[in-house]
C-alpha cells in the first residue's frame, strides 16, 4: 500500500480499463470511449468498494464520537489526510484542509486569506489560462475591495507569455496560476513563477486541479504557498477536494465557514476558532468521499505517477500525430504542438462544425468529448473561439480510443458536409 513505483514501467492499459465499471459500458450500441477526464474522471471499482465498505462497516460522524465505529471513521479520515499529504509532497498532513472541491478551496483562500490581507489598490496577478474557479473569486474580491486584477497573457501556442513577468508582478500581493491548462494542456513553469513572485513578496496560489491527476506532484519543490486540488478528476468521488497551505499562513488566517467542529469554544458572546486544519472544516465533512479519495490515491500510487505520466505523454504524442496526419489543416488543435510542454488535453476545432454539433455526432459513435468554453471564457476570447471540442486523455485511454476519436471526427465531417 502507498508504495510508489520507483522507475516508470509501462502501463497495462487493458488491465487498467478493466478496473473501471463505466468503461465496460456501451452507448448507442458502441463501446464507450471516454475522453472527458478533464471534466471528471471515471472511478475504479476499488474506489466504489472503499465507499461501500465505509458505509457498511464504519459509517459514523467523526471527531465527535467515542464509540468504536466513530473511532474507525475518524481514523479513516486522518489516514486519508496523511495519504493525500504524502501524494502531494506536502510537508505535513496538518496543512491539508478538506473542501468539497477545488473551487471551494480557492474561495477559502480568497475569503479568509484574501479579505484579511488584500485591500484597495493591491494587485492580484492571474493568467489568461485560468479556469473560472481561479478567476471569479478574485473578481468578487476585486469588486468588493477595489483590488486590481492583472493578467499574464498567453502566446499563440496557448502558453504563458512571461517576457513582462517582472512588470506584471510589480506591486502584486498574490499570484494565482494553474499548473496545467484545462483547455490548451499547457504546463506553466510553476517554480519559475513562484520564485519570481516570492522575490517581490507576493503569495502564490497554484490551482493544481489538472496537474495532480496526471503528473507526480512535489508541491514543496514548487515553492507555492497554497495549492488547490479536487478529488473527482483523479479517480476519486465527487464532493471532495482540498486546500494545502503553508502552516504559518493557515495559522494566521481567520475561519471561513462557521459551524460545528471548527471551534475551540462557543459562548453567547462569541467563539474561539480551533487550530488548523479543523478551523476550516465546519460541519459534517464529506467522510465517505474522503475515504473514496484515499482509495483513488492508493490506486494511482500502485500504478505509479511516473508510469501514468509517461503513458499519457506517449498517448498524447500518438494523438497529435494521428490527428494531424488524418485531418491536416481541417483540424486546429489549440495549445502546444509538441508533447514536451503539454498534458493530454486537446482542444479541437474541426472545419466550421460547431463544437456542440461535433460532440453530438461523436456521442453517436460512443465518443465522449466536451464542447463549450470549458469555464475559461477569457482564454476562449484570446483563442478567438466561443467554444471548442475538448478531448482529454487519462490513464485508462489507449491508442484505440484515439483512433475511435479520429474515426468519429471523420464521420462528423461526412455528416455535416455541405
Amino acid at each position: 500500500m502507498n508504495t510508489k513505483t520507483a522507475t516508470p514501467g509501462s502501463l497495462d492499459v487493458t488491465s487498467v480499463k478493466a478496473d473501471f465499471p463505466l468503461l465496460q459500458r456501451e452507448v448507442h450500441g458502441k463501446s464507450i470511449v471516454y475522453l472527458d477526464s478533464g471534466a471528471t474522471s471515471q472511478k475504479p471499482q476499488s474506489v466504489l468498494d472503499a465507499m461501500d465498505r465505509y458505509y457498511s462497516e464504519i459509517n459514523a460522524n467523526v471527531h465527535r464520537g467515542a464509540y468504536y465505529i466513530a473511532e474507525r471513521a475518524t481514523a479513516a479520515v486522518e489516514s486519508a489526510r496523511a495519504a493525500l499529504a504524502e501524494f502531494l509532497g506536502a510537508p505535513s498532513s496538518e496543512e491539508i484542509v478538506f473542501t468539497k472541491n477545488a473551487t471551494e478551496a480557492i474561495n477559502l483562500v480568497a475569503h479568509s486569506w484574501g479579505r484579511t490581507n488584500l485591500t484597495e489598490g493591491d494587485v492580484v496577478l492571474l493568467t489568461m489560462l485560468e479556469h473560472h474557479a481561479n478567476i471569479v473569486p478574485w473578481q468578487q474580491l476585486a469588486a468588493e475591495r477595489g483590488v486590481e486584477i492583472r493578467w499574464i497573457p498567453v502566446d499563440d501556442e496557448g502558453c504563458l507569455e512571461l517576457t513582462n513577468l517582472d512588470d506584471l508582478l510589480n506591486g502584486a500581493r498574490l499570484l494565482a496560476v494553474t499548473a496545467a491548462s484545462n483547455v490548451t494542456g499547457a504546463l506553466p513553469p510553476i517554480r519559475r513563477l513562484t520564485d519570481a513572485a516570492h522575490a517581490v513578496d507576493a503569495t502564490v496560489l497554484v490551482d493544481a486541479s489538472q496537474w495532480v491527476p496526471h503528473q507526480p506532484s512535489d508541491i514543496t519543490a514548487w515553492g507555492a504557498d497554497f495549492v488547490a486540488v479536487t478529488g473527482h478528476k483523479m479517480l476519486g468521488p465527487t464532493g471532495i477536494g482540498a486546500l494545502w497551505g503553508r502552516q504559518e499562513l493557515l495559522s494566521a488566517m481567520p475561519p471561513f465557514l462557521g459551524g460545528g467542529s471548527m471551534i475551540q469554544n462557543v459562548t453567547v458572546d462569541g467563539f474561539t476558532p480551533a487550530d488548523v486544519p479543523t478551523r476550516f472544516e465546519a460541519g459534517t465533512q464529506p467522510i465517505s468521499e474522503i475515504v473514496g479519495w484515499h482509495a483513488s490515491i492508493d490506486y494511482l500510487n500502485q500504478l505509479g505517477m511516473e508510469t501514468i505520466a509517461a503513458h499519457e505523454q506517449h498517448l498524447t504524442a500518438y494523438a497529435l500525430r494521428t490527428l494531424v496526419d488524418r485531418f491536416g489543416d481541417d483540424l486546429t488543435i489549440h495549445g502546444p504542438p509538441s508533447v514536451e510542454n503539454r498534458g493530454g488535453t486537446l482542444s479541437l476545432a474541426y472545419r466550421d462544425i460547431h463544437p456542440h454539433d461535433l460532440s453530438q455526432v461523436l456521442d453517436q459513435h460512443g465518443v465522449c468529448v466536451r464542447a463549450g468554453h470549458h469555464c475559461a471564457k477569457p482564454l476562449m476570447k484570446v483563442l478567438g473561439v466561443s467554444a471548442t471540442a475538448r478531448a482529454s486523455l487519462y490513464l485508462y485511454n489507449d491508442e484505440s480510443d484515439v483512433d475511435a476519436l479520429a474515426d468519429a471526427l471523420a464521420a462528423a465531417g461526412e455528416f455535416f458536409k455541405f
Binding site: V27, H28, H354, P355, H356, D357, Q360, V361, Q364, A371, G372, H373, K377, M380, S386, A387, F415, F416, F418
Partner: protein, 158 residues
Amino acid sequence: MAGLEDLYREIILDHYRNPRNRGELEVPPATMAEGFNPLCGDEVRVYLQVADGIITEVGIGGQGCSISQSSASMMSTAVVGKSIDETRSVLRKFKEMMSIHEHGLEGDHLSPDENQPGRSGLGDLEALRGVVKFPVRIKCATLGWNTLEQALTEPGDG
C-alpha cells in the same frame, strides 16, 4: 435511445445551411434583444420591426450551433407577418413542446412523448420536437425564442 436523425432533421439542416432573415435592422425603429447560452457560448440577436401590432420584419444575428441557429431561423419565418398576440401564442406552444423534457427527467425514458405531427399546430417547427430527446440541446433550440420573448417586451416604435 435517440439517434442523430431525431435531432438533425433535414429541414433543420436546411435552415442551418441557409439561415432565413439573417441580418440587422436599424434600432430604432426596430427593437433588439440579445440572448446567451452560458453553457456553450452561443449568442443570438433578434431584431423586430412591428407596425400596427404586426411583426413586419425580423432580423437574426449572432452565432452558434446548428440547433440554435436553425431554430432562430425557423422562428423568424414563423412569426413574420403575425400579430403580437399570434406570436405569443406560437411562442407559448413552442416552449410547451420543448418543456416535455421535464417529465422525461425521471429515468430512462428521456422522452416519453413520441412525435405527433400536426397536433400542435406548429407546422415546420414540429421538426424541432426531436430535440427534447437531447435535453442538453433544448437550451440551444429555445435560445432564439427566449430572445424573441425579450425583444417583444422591449419598448419600440410599434
